[in-house]
């Protein structure tokens, strides 16, 4: 059995940021990821990020990821790739599978930064080749530099659907339309404006009825919906497309937190069931922390700040950080988080976050 001080599951923005903070404080950190490369979804975010200078605004996600990875390496984080965490045991032991071997990793603290997965959408033809998640498209075009098709229908006008559509145009595909069943565009208006200038129609109040084709997608049938979301008969149209991208939301990937026995809460604004945690990202189980989309769907800049908070708290609990220094750093993280959760796009998330915090039992009571 291997031992480490802080084990982090998931080397995306939250896990990397947690690893950097904890290792810089002097903790021994092992960061585990099932993928061949670290970075999670961050290295395929080729667009410039929003936020303030403290959030690296105006810098492309991929560059923010590279900087974070090099900080983690410099701080001495052990990064174990191609390694699946298949289980978590009560004595803070993780079950790892790597190269068809399994081994245990015991830690004083564990941070779960497992991210999210894409929601599917079922309709006739949805299992055909050519129907894929927007995130999968983004991986193909930005990591593997492969166009999955030439003519794309994107389902979902949230930020993911809008950003991936723009990146498909950059990759040389044609985006025939972006549709959304809602009456308005869910993503940032500026992301919508970019694809509109590039000639892509955005059809709100539209849904997909079917994907059709012989062996793979050749056409998609869409229709206008009424105010209750039902397709209006006679308002169908058929589009010649070979890819249907699904950008219909994400769900927190929280299996390990369930397995560990964490308290959960259902928070629709944040994507469904999320592990209850306190302001310092500790779950209902002492020494088990969460950060990033597993705590509720937001975005990469927030995931990084949550990771920093979890890394600082875990390192402080181990005695690596003097508490005064830790408290100052945590106040800074809190301020950066608050700055990202204001305005008409952030208010609902800020309120939902407060609801999660209200469910968390103060640490003194829990330990007593």
């Amino acid at each position: 059995m291997h031992e480490t001080e802080i084990a982090i599951v998931g080397a995306g923005p939250a896990g990397l940021a947690a690893a950097v903070e904890a290792a810089q404080a002097g903790a021994q950190v092992t960061l585990v990821d099932e993928n061949a490369r670290p970075g999670g979804q961050l290295f395929k975010q080729i667009h410039k990020f929003f936020g303030s200078k403290a959030h690296h605004a105006g810098t492309r996600g991929v560059q923010i990821g590279r900087n974070l990875l090099s900080e983690a390496e410099k701080a001495g984080v052990e990064i174990r790739l191609d390694t699946v965490v298949y289980g978590i045991y009560p004595d803070k032991r993780l079950g790892l599978a790597c190269d068809s071997q399994s081994e245990d990793l015991k830690a004083a603290s564990i941070i779960l930064a497992t991210g999210a997965n894409e929601r599917p959408l079922a309709f006739p033809g949805w299992t055909m080749p050519g129907v894929m998640g927007a995130g999968a498209i983004q991986t193909l075009i930005n990591i593997h530099r492969t166009l999955p098709g030439r003519r794309v229908l994107m389902v979902g006008a949230g930020n993911v659907g809008l950003i991936v559509s723009y990146q498909l145009l950059q990759a040389g595909a044609e985006v025939v339309a972006i549709i959304d069943a809602l009456p308005g565009i869910g993503g940032y208006g500026v992301h919508a404006s970019k694809v509109r200038r590039a000639g892509v129609p955005i059809l709100t109040g539209h849904t997909i009825l079917a994907a059709k084709g012989d062996q793979a997608v050749e056409r998609a049938v869409i229709a206008k919906v009424d105010s209750s979301g039902q397709p209006i008969p006679g308002m169908e149209q058929t589009l010649d497309v070979d890819i249907v991208g699904l950008a219909v939301g994400l769900s927190p990937l929280a299996e390990l937190a369930w397995m560990a026995g964490c308290q959960f809460a259902h928070v629709p604004e944040l994507g469904g069931w999320v592990p209850v945690h306190d302001e310092e990202m500790q779950t209902s189980l002492p020494g088990l922390y969460v950060a990033g989309d597993v705590t509720g769907i937001e975005e990469a800049s927030i995931a990084m700040e949550q990771g920093r908070m979890a890394g600082l708290t875990a390192a402080q609990a181990l005695g690596c950080l003097p508490s005064q220094e830790a408290e100052i750093k945590k106040i800074e993280v809190r301020q950066r988080l608050d700055a990202l959760r204001v305005g008409s796009f952030g208010d609902a998330r800020a309120i939902a976050r407060q609801r999660i915090l209200s469910l968390s039992v103060p640490q003194g009571i829990r330990e007593g």
Binding site: F50, S52, I185, G189, A192
Partner: protein
């Protein structure tokens, strides 16, 4: 095909009313004096790199960073550094004094192949509709712009506040056609 409703969250295109209500959108009088940037940021998203990059303190956001940028046209020397750093690609540059009949419009651009100065391209409005042919005057892409080029085209003056991009050029290595239309 467009919804009857206007506005950036319905159509993806900021309406004239939204633009004019934004404190980043300069007055016609300021535009008439010479080249300045035009900030088409109409939503309270948390973002402020334009404020920090401006060497002339012509853009003010303050706290919280969801405030819309307030643009002080008199302080702007049209250096254009805010154009490529805006993650929303919502900042443009307009020079109404470029020539007798023509204005110069600059916009951020991230599609290959890049146009070159002297090319004639098809200028489009905020809906991606072709408005006119336009000569490319400049293509700026220094390293500090981090791969977002700023393209400047000459257009008739009456289209200066409409032209905001150009039709993507054909990719010689693929058969891709221009996106658009159903």
């Amino acid at each position: 095909m467009e919804s009857m409703q206007e506005g950036v969250l319905t159509t993806g295109i900021p309406s004239q009313a939204e633009l004019e209500a934004s404190p980043g959108y300069p007055s016609a009088a300021a535009l008439a004096r010479g080249p300045i940037v035009v900030i088409e940021c109409v939503q309270d998203i948390p973002c402020n790199p334009c404020e920090l990059v401006c060497p002339n303190n012509a853009i003010h956001i303050g706290e919280p960073i969801t405030n819309l940028p307030v643009f002080l046209a008199d302080e702007c020397d049209a250096c254009s550094q805010c154009i490529p750093i805006c993650p929303g690609q919502a900042i443009f540059r307009v020079d109404m004094t470029y020539a007798e009949e023509q204005a110069a419009v600059s916009f951020p651009y991230e599609f290959l192949p890049m146009p070159e100065a002297g090319n004639v391209v098809q200028a489009v409005n905020r809906a991606g509709e072709v408005l006119c042919d336009a000569e490319v005057l400049r293509v700026q892409q220094p390293r500090s712009f981090d791969l977002t080029a700023v393209i400047t085209v000459a257009v008739p003056k009456n289209l200066a506040m409409e032209v905001r991009s150009m039709v993507r050029l054909p990719r010689p290595w693929s058969q891709g056609q221009r996106a658009g239309g159903l």
